[in-house]
């Protein structure tokens, strides 16, 4: 069964530093997407970045980038030049493409990592 694990429940860094958030996952599917989201106190879930299993490109979006180690079933989110507004809870999510070509019914989320940026 699919599973997403975020080992660290909390992380803190100084403003301006770089932070790496780790995520590991389990899937029996060949094709899948991995997403990183930031959850705001308001309840909003903000999409940050996506990694597709078939892609070897190093995904990057602004200050966000990922390190994808497919053979290890691991994906890390790197946030560079941390700002106080980066504080929040970050979720890793897995969305599997089934053998039939369609996507499964749900994203599987990890437990999240609460990030605190210290000014």
């Amino acid at each position: 069964a699919e599973k997403v694990i975020q080992v660290w429940s909390t992380a803190s860094r100084q403003e301006g530093e770089e932070l790496t958030l780790d995520c590991s996952y389990e899937t029996s599917q060949v094709l899948y997407h991995l997403f990183w989201y930031k959850h705001l106190l308001s309840g909003e879930m903000v999409f940050l970045i996506r990694q597709t299993s078939s892609s070897t490109a190093k995904e990057r979006s602004g200050r966000y980038s990922v390190v994808f180690q497919k053979s290890l079933k691991s994906i890390s989110l790197i946030i560079s030049a941390l700002q106080p507004d980066d504080s929040g809870k970050y979720f890793c999510a897995l969305w599997e493409l089934m053998n039939t070509g369609g996507l499964s019914g749900k994203l599987t989320f990890g437990e999240g990592t609460q990030v605190t940026v210290i000014s």
Binding site: L31, H33, F35, Y37, H39, S42, G43, E44, M45, V46, F47, R50, T52, S54, F91, A93, W95, L97, G102, L103, S104, G105, K106, L107, F109, E111, G112
Partner: protein, 114 residues
């Protein structure tokens, strides 16, 4: 592109009352998801529509909860006889179920049952 729109943003209902939550997916997105988030349970999948058809409702409580997608521009989540444990942030998301895709969430509806 206004993103996924959820209304209302906040809803307070009395125990036993009905609550209807609305979601307008991003135009052109054929996949719509409903999740809810609580401190205790975290993010829980509720249900998934593709091209308006219910595909997976394995996360829906069998009683009192129902979801519909009468047309491609909106979906509703209805909770009958609300209970305090239904209090949560209900998140709607939409996507195009293709090889290169993102899943975008709305800002959520915070339901409080008193």
């Amino acid at each position: 592109n206004a993103g996924v729109i959820q209304t209302p943003r906040h809803k307070v209902t009395g125990k036993g009352q009905e609550a209807t939550l609305w979601c307008e997916p991003i135009s052109g997105h054929s996949a719509v998801f409903w999740y809810r988030q609580t401190i205790v349970q975290g993010l829980e999948f509720l249900t998934y529509f593709r091209n308006q058809a219910p595909i997976d409702d394995s996360g829906m409580p069998k009683e009192r909860f129902s979801a519909q997608m009468p047309n491609q521009s909106h979906s509703t989540l209805k909770i009958q006889s609300t209970q305090p444990q239904d209090s949560a942030v209900y998140l709607c998301a939409s996507s195009t179920p293709t090889a290169n895709t993102e899943v975008f969430f709305g800002k959520g509806t915070r339901l409080t049952v008193v």
